[in-house]
Symmetry: C2
Subunit: 181 residues, 2 copies
């Protein structure tokens, strides 16, 4: 069976996932306005995820938070070069230098059923390779003017099916799309 590949990410209204230098202070500030216990569906997603795939930059960003937020969820970090993972990290974290298609095929052979893709560059590479099934984008009500964009170049138009749009009282809007494969 083919694994399902999900993207679940927040952007500014102008489509940035971080400032030019990677800062997400604007997202932290927005999250501080969210009522306790509301996670906009993140926990429900993560409970169904078999493997979380991210790029080296996202990995280093997460490492900088001090505590590893993913528990024992298998995490694969994509990077051309090997990564020396600190001993403090769970043994479920792995490195892959494969291209998205190869990584996807290997995960499929390993019986993985749900892959969560995180990080701007990694999301762009999986989208460009036609490997994303579902996109959940939470739009934060702020315009940043510049930053690291969620989307990048693709070879041809990608038509989507909108399967949900939810406005939260605190101003976030969550859009859900599926991608025909």
């Amino acid at each position: 069976m083919k694994p399902k590949v999900s993207v679940f990410i927040a952007t500014s209204l102008d489509g940035y996932i971080a400032r030019p230098n990677g800062d997400i202070d604007w997202l932290d500030a927005a999250n501080a306005t969210v009522p306790d216990g509301e996670d906009c569906g993140y926990d429900a997603l993560i409970r169904t995820v078999d493997v979380l795939v991210m790029g080296r930059k996202s990995y280093e960003k997460v490492l900088s938070f001090g505590s590893w937020p993913y528990g024992g969820i298998p995490v694969t970090v994509m990077s051309r070069n090997p990564i020396a993972f600190p001993d403090s990290l769970p043994k479920t974290i792995q490195h892959s230098s494969e291209q998205p298609q190869k990584l996807y095929e290997r995960l499929a052979r390993e019986g993985v059923s749900h892959v969560y893709i995180d990080g701007g560059n990694t999301i762009q590479r999986f989208l460009a390779a036609g490997l994303v099934d579902e996109l959940t984008i939470t739009i934060i009500p702020v315009i940043l003017g510049d930053g690291i964009p969620l989307f990048g170049p693709i070879a041809s138009d990608l038509s989507l099916t909108c399967v949900g749009a939810k406005a939260y009282d605190f101003g976030f809007v969550q859009l859900r799309y599926t991608v025909p494969r």
Copy 2:
């Protein structure tokens, strides 16, 4: 009284209002799937508009459609250089070489109460000048990968208030924001 300034525009999910060369074939194709009589609120907006402001590029694009779609609604075309309007256009079309702030102040003095800003560059200039009160963005379910972006650089973060999010059966999502002034 200060005029209200509205933006009402469609973008791809990746935030483009047109392809790199200005083409909106993807938008025309999407609009062809919209049921007859559904205009996503455009007519309700345009009936309250006193002046429509656009840039020279948008004006030339609209001219290329062959028939002028705005009837007798006063239209102001912003352009550094004078524009020779064809005699076939309504006499309510004007040229302005003013900067956004100056144009806004003049319209205020003239008693205008609602200004509709159209066209990517013009919207960016009014946003950057802090002159936009309301943004209605209709997101078309397609990723283009490249194009003319709705948003551009701004001097500092612009926090918005989300006042609506509507998902249409045909896959469009319309987001409405107000901008605190």
